[in-house]
């Protein structure tokens, strides 16, 4: 393994992580909710009375983040290499998989591990493992 030192951004990574942690802290300590994005989004598809507005408020805040950022500093450019077929396949897998797993990078990876939940540790190790495998296969076996 070779570390890409030129890509490595430890300070902003850590600071961004702390912000994500603060968001999760605020959400559990004030709203008694786990900041798990797939669960917040997926819950909209089984709508229940009184259970919709807070989801939309959270998701709206997330989607609005780039606009607020852009008021203060230029937004970092995004680079999305995947073409439409890959994006569609990826979206379907992420949607289906996270709902079956009951969480994604935020719900299991951040909040679950913060709670020391063995279930979330296993989930995180699983999606990281298949993520590593998928990129390895795509970039080095097929794409290489």
């Amino acid at each position: 393994m070779v570390i890409a030192w030129t890509q490595f951004t430890p300070a902003t990574a850590l600071a961004g992580g702390v912000l994500i942690g603060l968001s999760a802290a605020l959400f559990v300590l004030l709203n008694v909710r786990v900041a798990g994005i797939s669960g917040i989004l997926g819950g909209l598809l089984r709508p229940a009375r009184g259970d919709i507005a807070w989801r939309l408020a959270f998701l709206g805040g997330m989607v609005a983040a780039p606009a607020l950022w852009a008021l203060l500093r230029p937004l970092p450019a995004l680079s999305i290499a995947a073409g439409t077929p890959s994006l569609v396949a990826a979206g379907l897998l992420v949607g289906l998989g996270t709902r079956y797993a009951g969480g994604c990078t935020s719900g299991h990876g951040v909040c679950g591990i913060s709670r020391l939940s063995p279930r979330s540790v296993v989930a995180t190790l699983s999606f990281m493992a298949t993520g590593f495998l998928t990129v390895g296969v795509m970039r080095h076996l097929i794409g290489g």
Partner: protein, 137 residues
């Protein structure tokens, strides 16, 4: 502050954290997932920072009876490590590796006006709808 306001604030801070960390950018995520290429360990530090703060918060939540807004404190109780968890997480990881998007960053990229993020998010919602359909059959 109302419940909805703190919800929006939490979402906003989460989104800003994703932008600052660089993880709203799929290329950055794929740089982490590519162990055999030049490996970018940044995502580990994002997780470390988030979990350090999160662990304090969840430990505090565990000791409280009521939230800051006066609701009864309640934490997740699911603990099953079963086929649904393993298969679901496994599928999620494949999708994550295919495009470099997981749900949060995709929503932030959508907010940044990326058409490709819209395609991903629409497909992700379709995947979630398929889950609901399979569950209700």
């Amino acid at each position: 502050m109302s419940y909805l306001l703190t919800s929006a604030l939490a979402g906003l801070i989460f989104g800003l954290g994703l932008i600052l960390s660089g993880l709203a950018n799929p290329a950055k995520v794929l740089g982490f997932l590519d162990l055999a290429g030049g490996w970018d360990p940044s995502l580990m530090l994002v997780m470390a920072g988030a979990i350090a703060v999160g662990a304090l918060a969840f430990a505090s939540a565990g000791r409280r009876q009521f939230s800051g807004l006066g609701h009864a404190m309640k934490l997740p109780t699911a603990s099953a490590i079963d086929r649904r968890l393993l298969l679901g997480s496994g599928l999620f990881g494949v999708g994550w590796g295919l495009a470099g998007f997981c749900p949060g960053p995709a929503l932030v990229a959508l907010g940044q006006g990326e058409l490709k993020a819209l395609i991903f998010v629409a497909s992700m919602l379709a995947g979630m709808a398929i889950f609901e359909w399979l569950e209700r059959r």
